[in-house]
Symmetry: C2
Subunit: 329 residues, 2 copies
């Protein structure tokens, strides 16, 4: 996979570090708008990228790039992914995949028509410890309650409280705690149990209508899950799955699933199958394998999962009256 | 306070042990139905109680008893509390206080008319660590999310799964996880923040309609709380209050509040103001002080809190379609 990246946030550097650790994958170019040229150049230099673009049309026409990684504000994911697929390249889109289910469905349709690969860049589903948890699910017996918490005080929350509106707290940019951070918990829950029967969302809302934290409830036929996320407060993250015969616990945010603790009766054991200090390595290993083996079935199966997650996010938003410009499209 | 107790479950023994540790309070009698005479006699012997009744009318007419502690199935709390108040005695009623708000309001009215003391026997509100948490609330800044979990696998759940219907899993007896165990979380939350704006409840229901576990959501004007409780699975209990500047954590079920951890930024400190190994001691100290000082104001203030909790329980039940015979009264 020959990758061109779009964007210049911390996630771009983390991603380039991950790509450098995955064999069969190589980052060769970066694109940023002229206003962010310096940031792009600095990243290109740090990660020894061959090319540094500020002209999107030229970036798009670079035939040495087969796959584009899109790390732009949430509201731009759809437009750029569409342009990239239409230009005949594969697209890797940062979470949250798009603003709406409709946008997701359209991108999937185009990817299939063009026979291109399309991925959501989300750590959770590709982590070995998450897969281990899935395999041990049966041991805890009939499910009772599931709780997750991913709360990370945003570096931009103080500015927001002081009257600025960073993208991540802006409905115009499809921001908010649900889209930005609860999306991990929802990937975790939907990854384990599929699409829920119903979704409710109880957010803390700022004056501009955006959610800075909140509790989402995903109901399944015989149990309920709570997904808590906050960008306005900090916590030790966790995921807790309670069954009749025992519990499964992730002792960190589910974006990392650092450690899995299985407790049956009085006995606990800890599993950790992850060696890398960069938890993005696992998703890029997955993408690289799928692309290099031309495994469209797996790619489209993952997109079905992404669509289920998008449906939960959209139901949660609508339950709580959080609307984006993309909802009017 | 000269106390007569009704019932013979484990909570009665725990309560008698607590009373024996509180100065100004003394248990002198026990009442049980003739069918449970042996259990009553064994407890009377163990705790050196002067009298052991199986005739309720005689028990009621015993003038040496001024206060009756009612540890009967939930659905019987109201009827017996009413009889006891009408007989001119104070009543201490095990949680959940009654089956409905209407029953609570009627008992409160009668207690006031008769100028008697009426208490809900609930540990949470009277624990020193809970009071400490309340005092430290301001330090964590603007509230974001609150989570509690109290899950204790019921010794009667296996029998229930095998087709029996113990009182605690029987709607006829006002049973279920919400009434029996989530009531602690709700006392905790209402104790901190008062009555919520709205209440939702997402239970796991058995075939007879009773909730064996569930997630209650209490919404306040600018934040939400989740109260998780299960009798069909086990967990390490906790309460987690997240604010803009820090977190408050109870590292046990809120019925005990064993330890309070305050984290502001990178700094944590642990507080434990509770020395007794019997956490029921604190509520009986409170009741004894109020009765011996004839402090009706405090008693009625606590009853207002109990009424708020009952309103939450009733709203939660109705949200989830859990109905008791008492709802028809």
């Amino acid at each position: 996979m020959k990758i061109g990246v779009m964007g210049h946030g911390p996630i771009v550097e983390k991603c380039l570090d991950a790509i450098s650790k995955v064999s069969g994958s190589q980052a060769i170019a970066i694109y940023n708008r002229p206003v962010s040229a310096k940031e792009g150049e600095a990243i290109a230099k740090k990660f020894h990228l061959e090319k540094c673009y500020t002209d999107f049309e030229k970036f798009l026409k670079d035939d040495t790039i087969d796959t584009v990684y899109i790390a732009l504000p949430n509201s731009l994911h759809y437009d750029y992914a569409l342009k990239i697929l239409n230009a005949g390249k594969n697209a890797i889109v940062e979470k949250p995949f798009t603003s709406t289910v409709k946008e997701t469905e359209h991108l999937v349709q185009i990817a299939k028509e063009k026979r291109k690969f399309l991925f959501e860049a989300i750590t959770t589903c590709h982590l070995p410890n998450m897969k281990a948890l899935k395999e041990h699910m049966k041991e805890i017996g009939e499910l009772s309650v599931v709780q997750t918490n991913f709360s990370q005080y945003s570096s931009r929350y103080d500015a927001f409280k002081n009257g600025e509106t960073p993208n991540i707290f802006n409905p115009e940019f499809s921001g908010g705690a649900l889209m930005d951070i609860n999306v991990y918990n929802i990937h975790f829950i939907v990854g384990l149990f599929g699409e829920p029967e119903s979704v409710s969302y109880f957010p803390k809302k700022a004056e501009n209508g955006i959610d800075t934290s909140g509790i989402a409830i995903l109901q399944y036929p015989n149990f309920a899950c709570s997904a808590v996320a906050a960008k306005d407060s900090e916590s030790k993250g966790f995921a807790y799955v309670q069954g009749k015969d025992g519990t499964l616990k992730i002792n960190s945010h589910v974006s990392r699933c650092e450690e899995l603790i299985i407790t049956i009766g009085q006995t606990s054991k800890t599993i950790n199958l992850q060696e890398s200090d960069n938890h993005l390595v696992y998703e890029f290993e997955s993408f690289t394998k799928v692309v290099n083996e031309q495994d469209y079935d797996t790619c489209y199966k993952w997109l079905e999962h992404t669509r289920s997650v998008m449906k939960v996010l959209e139901k949660a938003r609508k339950f709580a009256g959080i609307l984006f410009p993309a909802d009017q499209q």
